[in-house]
Symmetry: C2
Subunit: 408 residues, 2 copies
C-alpha cells in the first residue's frame, strides 16, 4: 500500500450535538509526554483529576474518577457493576439514549422495565412514581439530557422516590455535565457517568464518573476475584461482575492509594480530561453553565429569527442543543452537506423517528461562543436561501445579537 500522509484534518466548526471541536488547550495538554503508571507525578495527576471532577459533579464522593472508554463504556461500567442478573431496573425513556440504557441493562441480564414518554417531552414524575410502585426496582436509570430530542429530564423528587423504594439512582449525564446544572449530591444521585466530547470541551475517549458511598457498597459486595490475578476456588458471591474491564470494584482499587494494577491508564486522555475540568473551573462551574445557556438561547433565538420551528417542549430543553424542524420544502441532508462542504460547519442529523425531520444544532464546550453561533446562523441563512427556502434576511443573526445585547 502507499502510505497515507501525516494527519491533516480540514478546518471544521462542529456545531452538532457532539462531539464538538475540542478546546485547543485540551489538545495541547494531550501532547504532553507520558510518565509511568505508578510515577509519583501520575499518582498526583490522578488525585488531581478526582478532585477536579468532584467539583464538576458537585459531589463529595470519594469514587470520582475516569473510565477508560468513551461515554458509552462508562454507562456499561455503571450498569454492569450495579446490576446483577435478574435485578429489576426501571428506565424512563424519552429518546434514543433511554433505549441505549435499556439495551445495556438487558445485556447485563437485568429485568428491564420502562416508562415511556413521547419524543420531545420528558417523563412526568407521577409516571415514574407509578412505575416504581409497580416494579420495585433495584435501580432507577435515567438519561439526564437526551440529545436525540434535546430534552432534559427534571430530577426533582427522584431521590425521595428512590428512598421510598430503597432504590439506587443512576444518571447518564454525558450530554449535560458542565453545561447544565447537575448537582450530584444535592439531587441524591448514586452514580453518574459522562464523556468529554460535549459540554466538557474535549475529545471522546475518557469518561468521568462518580459513585456515592451507597453505590460503592453495592459494588464492593460483588467482589469475588482479586484485582489482576484470579483467586483460586469458587467465587465469593453468586454474581461476580460480568466484566473485567468495567469492574468498578477493580477500577476503584486502581484509583485508590493502593493503585492495584488493572488496565494501563490512557494517560493522554487523562491529561485531556484534567484540562477540560481546569478550563471549566477557571471560569467557574456556574458561570460555565450560564455561558452554555446564553449561547444556547442565542442559537435558539437565531433559529426562530430565520423563521424555523424549534422541536420539542421548550420548558425542558437542554441549554446546549436545539432541535430545528426541517422545512418541508428542503432536503435536510443536502443542507447539511452544503453547510459542511462550503462553510466548514457541521450541524447534526437525527435518529429514529426524527431522521430527516429535525436538525440538531449544538452550542457546547469550546463552541459555546458568540462567533460560532453567529457564523452558523449566517451560513444556515445562506444555504437555506440557495436551497429555495424563503428566510428573513439577517433574521437569524439579528435575533442572536438581540440575545447577546442584553447579556454583554
Amino acid at each position: 500500500m502507499s502510505l497515507p500522509g501525516p494527519i491533516d484534518p480540514p478546518a471544521r466548526l462542529l456545531m452538532g450535538p457532539g462531539p464538538i471541536s475540542a478546546d485547543p488547550r485540551v489538545l495541547r495538554a494531550m501532547s504532553a509526554q507520558l510518565v509511568g503508571q505508578y510515577d509519583p507525578f501520575m499518582t498526583e495527576a490522578m488525585n488531581e483529576v478526582m478532585g477536579l471532577y468532584r467539583e464538576i459533579f458537585a459531589t463529595a464522593n470519594q469514587q470520582t474518577l475516569l473510565v477508560d472508554s468513551t461515554s458509552r463504556g462508562a454507562i456499561e461500567a455503571a450498569l454492569v457493576s450495579l446490576l446483577e442478573p435478574g435485578d429489576r431496573v426501571l428506565v424512563p425513556v424519552m429518546g434514543r439514549f433511554g433505549h441505549l440504557l435499556v439495551e445495556i441493562a438487558e445485556r447485563c441480564g437485568a429485568e428491564v422495565h420502562t416508562v415511556d414518554a413521547p419524543w420531545g417531552t420528558v417523563v412526568p414524575l407521577e409516571d415514574i412514581a407509578a412505575a416504581m410502585e409497580r416494579v420495585r426496582p433495584h435501580l432507577l436509570a435515567m438519561v439526564h439530557g437526551d440529545t436525540s430530542t434535546t430534552m432534559m429530564q427534571p430530577f426533582d423528587g427522584l431521590r425521595e422516590l428512590c428512598d421510598r423504594y430503597e432504590c439506587l439512582l443512576y444518571a447518564d449525564v454525558t450530554a449535560t455535565l458542565g453545561g447544565n446544572p447537575f448537582p450530584t449530591d444535592e439531587w441524591g444521585v448514586d452514580a453518574a457517568t459522562a464523556g468529554l466530547q460535549k459540554c466538557l470541551g474535549g475529545p471522546s475517549g475518557s469518561a468521568p464518573a462518580t459513585f456515592s458511598p451507597r453505590a460503592v457498597e453495592v459494588i464492593e459486595a460483588r467482589r469475588s476475584i482479586e484485582a489482576g490475578i484470579r483467586a483460586d476456588g469458587d467465587p465469593v458471591t453468586a454474581h461476580p461482575i460480568r466484566s473485567n474491564y468495567f469492574d468498578l470494584a477493580m477500577i476503584f482499587d486502581y484509583w485508590s492509594p493502593r493503585r492495584l494494577n488493572h488496565h494501563t491508564e490512557a494517560t493522554t486522555m487523562l491529561y485531556g480530561a484534567r484540562e477540560c475540568a481546569r478550563l471549566i473551573l477557571e471560569t467557574g462551574l456556574a458561570a460555565n453553565q450560564e455561558r452554555h445557556l446564553l449561547h444556547g438561547n442565542a442559537m435558539l433565538a437565531g433559529v426562530e429569527g430565520l423563521g424555523l420551528e424549534v422541536y420539542g417542549d421548550r420548558a425542558y430543553k437542554m441549554a446546549n442543543v436545539v432541535g430545528v424542524v426541517i422545512p418541508d420544502e428542503v432536503d435536510g441532508e443536502a443542507v447539511r452537506a452544503a453547510m459542511l462542504a462550503d462553510f466548514g460547519i457541521e450541524i447534526g442529523t437525527s435518529f429514529g423517528p426524527l431522521a430527516g425531520r429535525v436538525w440538531r444544532i449544538g452550542t457546547m464546550g469550546y463552541n459555546a461562543r458568540k462567533d460560532a453561533v453567529l457564523a452558523t446562523l449566517a451560513a444556515l441563512e445562506s444555504v437555506l436561501r440557495r436551497h429555495g427556502v424563503a428566510v428573513p434576511s439577517g433574521g437569524g443573526v439579528d435575533a442572536a445579537y438581540d440575545v447577546y445585547g442584553t447579556a454583554a
Copy 2:
C-alpha cells in the same frame, strides 16, 4: 479547592515493560483538531487505519480496526464476542496475562480450562495438543508475549491443532505486535488484539484488533439486537453478546461503509493509532522488528555485562523486554526509586511470584534506541554501585557497544 496548574510532566525515559514514552510524532498527531464522526475526512481516516493495521498484523482481514479502550478492553471485546456462556475455552498459561485471559473468559461465562507452564518458560506444543484432545475447546486463547515473564509463545503448529478440533485461535499480542514477528494470516490466527503502548510507540487508550472471516462468522451469528436501537421482540439467538460496548458485531458495523452509530469514536486516539502505524511502515515492518531485536539484544548484553543474571528461558525471550534477576544484596525497589528520582529513568518491577525478585527492562517503540539503552545501562551501573553491588566498571555499556558495533 485551589486549581492545579497546566499539566507539566517531568522528563522521564520509560524503560519498563510498557507503557513507554510515546513517539513525539504520535503526540503531535494527537493534537490535530477533531472532525465530525461521519465527516468524509473521518471516514477516510478510519479506512486508512484499517489498511495500515492490516499491514501491521500482516493480514487480509477486512475486520481490522480499533477498539476504543486500552488493550485490556480489546481482549474482553474478543472474548465476550467469541464466547457464549458454557463454551469451552483452553488457555495456555505461562504468566500473569494468561491468568488475565482466564479471568476475562470466566466473566464471559465460559467453561475455562488451562494448561500451565512454569513462569520463565513457554507451554510445549505437545501439552497444548494433549489438552485440546481432552477439552475439545471452542476457542484456544493464547498470550503471544507475556511481559510478566518476558516469554514469547511459539505459534508453530497451533493452526493445524485448531483445524483438527475445529477451534478458533485468539492471540493477545499487546506486548509483541510491531516489535516481534506476528504474521496473523500465515499463522492462521482468527482474532488478535493489541494496544498502542508497547512496540507501537503510542499511549494507551486505543486497541488495534483483527478478526478472520471465520471469527466474523461466529460473531455475526450472535446478532440479536439492531445496532444502537433495541429491536422489538425476542432475541434471534439464545446468547446475544453480553456487552454492548464490546459487541464486535456492532463495532464492525460502525467501521463498515454503513457506519452505523455505536460509540463516539475517540478521534484523538485514532489519530495517534494512525501515526503509530505510519511510523512503523515508514521504517518497514520487518525492519522495525529487527530494530527491536537489535536494541533488545544490546540491553540483554549490557545487563550481563554488569554481571547480572537474565531471567527466563532465553530461547523464547521477547525482543523488547528483558527480565533481570535482582542481586540478593540489594533492595530492588530502592534501586528503581533511585533510577527514577536521580536519572529520570523508569525500569519495571514484577508481579506475583517474581515481585521483588526480577526487574523488567523494556526497549520498545520510541525507546528502542541506542541512546536510551546506553543511558539506562550507565545509570543502572551507577545506582547499583552506590547501593553496594560490585559491578564491572563500564561493563554494561561496553557490552552493549559490542552489539551495536557488529550491527552499525
